[in-house]
């Protein structure tokens, strides 16, 4: 087999690996600063503080039928929170035309939170939920999702 043909076959095989890249997990409790509009949106919500990993949970299917309507759930348990209260949760995305998805605000005495909604994801990307607690600490959970495109895009 000539080296150029070998390159072709290896190149074709590598494509699925690129497209099904696994989830990026932060190690420890400190997250790494994200870049671009995504990173800036995170820091806007946290007033410049890098959020810590934990307490909040972001649930979303990792392989998505259609990026137009993707169910997501964010939750934070009473045990994980106590004695602080939950003030707000932000949802931020990496690759849509704008990074903000939603910000949820809770009642003054909220000891736990659970929210479910449906969002749009333009392409495969990272999604992050960030919680602001009453002690002004920030906690995050980041998920990487794969969005396949529809076969026939209608006009």
């Amino acid at each position: 087999m000539t080296s150029s043909r070998r390159q072709v076959i290896l190149g074709a095989g590598a494509l699925p690996l690129v497209l099904t890249a696994g989830r990026v997990l932060a190690t420890g409790t400190d997250t790494q600063a994200a870049s671009g509009a995504y990173g800036e949106a995170i820091l806007r919500f946290t007033a410049g503080v890098q959020p810590r990993l934990g307490k909040i949970r972001l649930e979303i299917a990792t392989l998505i039928d259609n990026g137009n309507t993707v169910p997501v759930e964010v939750s934070i348990d009473e045990d994980a929170l106590a004695p602080a209260r939950i003030e707000a949760i932000a949802l931020v995305n990496e690759r849509n035309p704008q990074p903000e998805v939603a910000v949820f605000h809770f009642g003054a005495d909220a000891r736990s939170a659970w929210v479910s909604t449906r969002i749009r994801l333009a392409t495969s990307q990272k999604l992050m939920a960030i919680a602001r607690l009453s002690d002004q600490s920030f906690w995050s959970h980041e998920v990487e999702v794969i969005v396949t495109l529809a076969a026939c895009i209608e006009p």
């Binding site: 035309p97 949820f104 809770f106 009642g107 909220a110 479910s116």
Partner: protein, 113 residues
Amino acid sequence: MTATPARRVRTLIELPSSTRAGELIEIRATIGHPMETGYRRDASGELMPRNIIRMFQCELAGRRIFTAELFPAISANPMIAFRHRVQTGGELLFRWTGDKAFEHVERRLLNLR
């Protein structure tokens, strides 16, 4: 959605028929709305202006228990569900506001046993 003037706003609200103090209840509210992102182009290539619901608020007996700020990344016909630890019953007020002076209010009763 085909646009007609003064389009009737459709909503679907789910909440328990009755509850008691201390219970964690789930409230689900869906509203019919295109949530036009402002990033799509029409057939002639023109950018379609943004038309979204920007805020969803829920009050119970006059106190705000939940607010959601929404952005174009929220799907059309937005459904928002949240859980609330019941302390009092009373009138639940749901308010959606957004672009093009959009405002819609629904009222329900949260019955305490």
